[in-house]
């Protein structure tokens, strides 16, 4: 089965291992993530300005192009998912907005491109695709290397689940989808109270100390709950949570770093992808010792 896939910029640069592990894992599950033609940046941030119409041109242009292929568009990066889905929600519930955006697209068209969006695309996160098209119970059949009860902290962050009303993927205060994935892979999803707390996001740029504190709080809670490793779907969260761990360790003697992976890396591991394809060397906190200790490498 082929699905129309929107990678987004980060998956082509910093988080290229997220794309590759996703594609390789999904191939094992019989799903080909086919990169959509002529995609552009999603806009990176969903604008909360009252008049946000210009900011929605980028995501809607992408949706217009996706609509030519089909009614489904799969994405993985939490930020892309958030922007595309919220823009989609906005125009699906406001025909005037859609009309205006189509006028913009018409105005700014390049060559003979006739980008016009009709509100027919359904934006899906890869996690939703796995849940709906394969099913977590069914997923177990494909597992070659069960995680042996490895204690994994699911980290949702904000953009994957909020706002619930628009994304409708999960209960934003008590999400379960990553928990379910971990359990299906044979791991043990740990419950901790910070799985939906913000990682600090772009505050990293001007006040990195705030991101430290946020990371410390999240990671410490995950550790306290017994987590050996953490997974996420968001490149920015991964970057923030990984980056400061050794500094935190210096300040707080009781802190032990927690390696953090993309969920697709853990999925690939359980599905039996070879170690080199899992690209486990992208983070400061090396996950390999933990995985080796658990007999998974």
């Amino acid at each position: 089965m082929k699905v129309n896939f929107y990678p987004g910029c980060t998956l082509k640069t910093k988080a290229s291992n997220l794309e590759r592990t996703a594609k390789a894992s999904m191939a094992i599950l019989g799903i080909e993530l086919e990169e959509m033609a002529e995609w552009t940046c999603c806009g990176a941030n969903f604008s909360l300005a009252n008049d946000n119409i210009m900011k929605m041109a980028a995501p809607i242009r992408n949706l217009a192009r996706a609509e030519k292929v089909g009614t489904e568009l799969v994405t993985i990066c939490s930020a892309c998912y958030n922007v595309l889905k919220r823009a989609n929600y906005a125009v699906k519930n406001d025909s005037e907005k859609l009309e205006k955006l189509n006028l913009f697209l018409e105005d700014g068209k390049i060559q003979d491109n006739d980008d016009q969006y009709h509100g027919k695309v359904n934006v899906l996160h890869l996690l939703e695709l796995i849940k709906e098209k394969i099913g977590f119970d069914n997923l177990k059949k494909y597992i070659k290397k069960p995680l042996n009860g490895l204690k994994v902290a699911p980290y949702y962050g904000c953009q994957l689940i909020r706002p619930q009303k628009e994304l409708e993927i999960e209960d934003q205060e008590a999400p379960e989808i990553l928990h379910n994935l971990i359990d299906a892979l044979g791991g043990d999803a740990v419950d901790y109270s910070m799985d939906t707390e913000c990682c600090g996001s772009y505050v990293e740029v001007n006040r990195p100390k705030e991101v430290w504190l946020a990371s410390y709080r999240i990671l410490r809670q995950a550790r306290a709950a017994g987590a050996k490793i953490m997974i996420t779907s968001c490149p920015l969260c991964l970057y923030n949570l990984d980056k400061h761990q050794f500094d935190i360790e210096k300040e707080h003697s009781d802190f032990k770093p927690v390696p953090i992976l993309y969920f697709t890396q853990l999925l690939g591991l359980a599905l039996g992808l070879p170690e080199e394809e899992l690209e486990l060397n992208g983070t400061k906190v090396d996950p390999r010792p933990v995985l080796k200790e658990s007999g998974l490498l």
Binding site: D171, E173, A174, D191, S193, M194, E197, Q221
Partner: protein, 651 residues
Amino acid sequence: MKRIGVFVCWCGSNIAGTVDVEKVAEHFRTYPGVVHAESYQYLCSEPGQKIILNRIKEHGLKGVVIAACSPTMHESTFRNTVQQIGFNPFQLEIANIREQVSWVTEDKDSATSKAITSISQIVEKLKGNEALDPIQVPVTKKALVIGGGIAGIEAALNIAKAGYKVYLVEKEATIGGHMAQLSETFPTLDCSQCILTPKMVEVARHPNVELYTLSKVTKIEGFIGNFKVTVHKEPDYVKRADCTACGDCAEVCPVEVPSEFNQTLKYRKAIYIPSPQAVPTIYHIDPETCLGINPIKCNKCAEACERKAIDFDQQPEDILIEVGAIVVATGYDLYDKELMAEYGYGRYQDVIDGLQFERILSASGPTEGKVLRPSDGTVPKRVVFVQCCGSRDPEHHKAYCSKICCMYTAKHALLYKHKVHDGKATVFYMDIRANGKRYEEFVQNAIEHEHISYLRGRVSKIYQENDHLVVMGADTLSGKRVEIEADLVVLAMAMVPGKGTMELAKLLKVGYDENGFLNEAHPKLRPVESLTGGVFIAGAVQAPKDIPETVAQASGAASKVLEMFGQDYLWKEPTIVDVDGSLCSMCGNCVLVCPYGARSLNKEKHIVEVNAVLCESCGACAAACPTGAAQQRNLTDKQIVDMIEVALEIK
């Protein structure tokens, strides 16, 4: 042609300020069929009413149009007036030129012209009016009270004491409702049980009260003054007359389940009494948790009972009762805490709700009144109270204010400080709404003398850290984020209508609002009546309210019932929808659309039968009738067409 008089009211400047009333009167002096027209400052006043009576006599009027305020305001006033001189009240009609004309514009010319149009329509309607007599309905002078909390108890007692029979139906095993669970009540701190228990006993013992516990209303037929109600009663599995509530049975019962009365903070057995003060004071078996209502599986309780009161063979019963009036007093529940996952209810044992804290504070509660937290039974030294949980949050939860939480949170914090002197109590609030007699003083006392710290702001998250909780929130006065450590957190959850309210409302054909609270007939002037005749409402089923207000409303509802029972017959508007048998094709459309069950197809007699008492004159059937056989009295198709034509100036 009918001799019609038109009277235009100034309503002081309410109408005259925008409508040129004299010009309007002048217009109708030459209007076909109108023999007299005048304007007057206040037609509803004594002299105003006299003018109308005099003109009827002077001009031999056969129809009267009052152009004034809405008919819901004064239609009955004027109709009663003209009736005094033998004028048929259904030959008087109101043209609303206040709410629908003068109050909606400042443009004098257009207001005047619209007033003329509105009055013309009513004149045309009146030309087709017939003299009608009100419909007489007999009254069964017995009442049904649904719900045995403080509202139902109060209403039942009021009616019973006036000498009328009352059936009191309660779905739980005991009456008393939530009030029986409370520790002490604000603002006087008298013990809830002490003031409620005597009433519970009194109502159950009153010779005019028949009490059905473990019972639900499952069917309601009939109409005002004449309801036929089916009450489904689950068995106690214990013979009431023989049970002495000694408790020997519960001692040997092997089943333990969380106690509903103690809000799951304690266990009860499968054979149990909800509380020592329960009324009726008997044990009963919960068939859901009992090993099987089967003496072969487990017969321990029956063996232990010296009086042989256990009876596994009791069966559910359907009891049919006939009543003239119904009081709905089914109360409230707390908003589902699990819908606020960020507060960790269900995840952390020491996050509890207000009712649970009431049980902890109560001398008869799971901790015998000692403040101990659920997780480890220690005394919590830091307690955080969070107000407005689920209330005043239109985006995520309930938009309304639950009204009692400011008061009971202050009471909780104060009682906590009375019991744990070195404890620290912190209250998160949005603003303090303490508007009742001695309420504000109560809260101020809690703040100033009990040193309870009030922190204005919202809580975003509660989480566990080692052996305590951390409450994350915002202090909106200092503008800072705060994190407060707590050993126990008490959530003041929003009040919502009791479970099953909506199903009951549908049975009763009573309206409810977007939150499921029952609708009163008029928010100000008819607060204890529903729009369905003979059905009254009392207590928190109508909106969140505290005990004094609930009791007042229950007494109000009872007095409305007594007002009904003071009459041998009720009078009902006769403007029902008849059927012209010669035009009726027996299609059954009118029967289908009737929301009141007033119409039925009699295939043998080949007619549609109309129950004049059930018909609420809504006109749905008349609109649905394809042949024009169904015509509403004094609002026939011809009258409607005449009104439309005059409004469109094509007549």
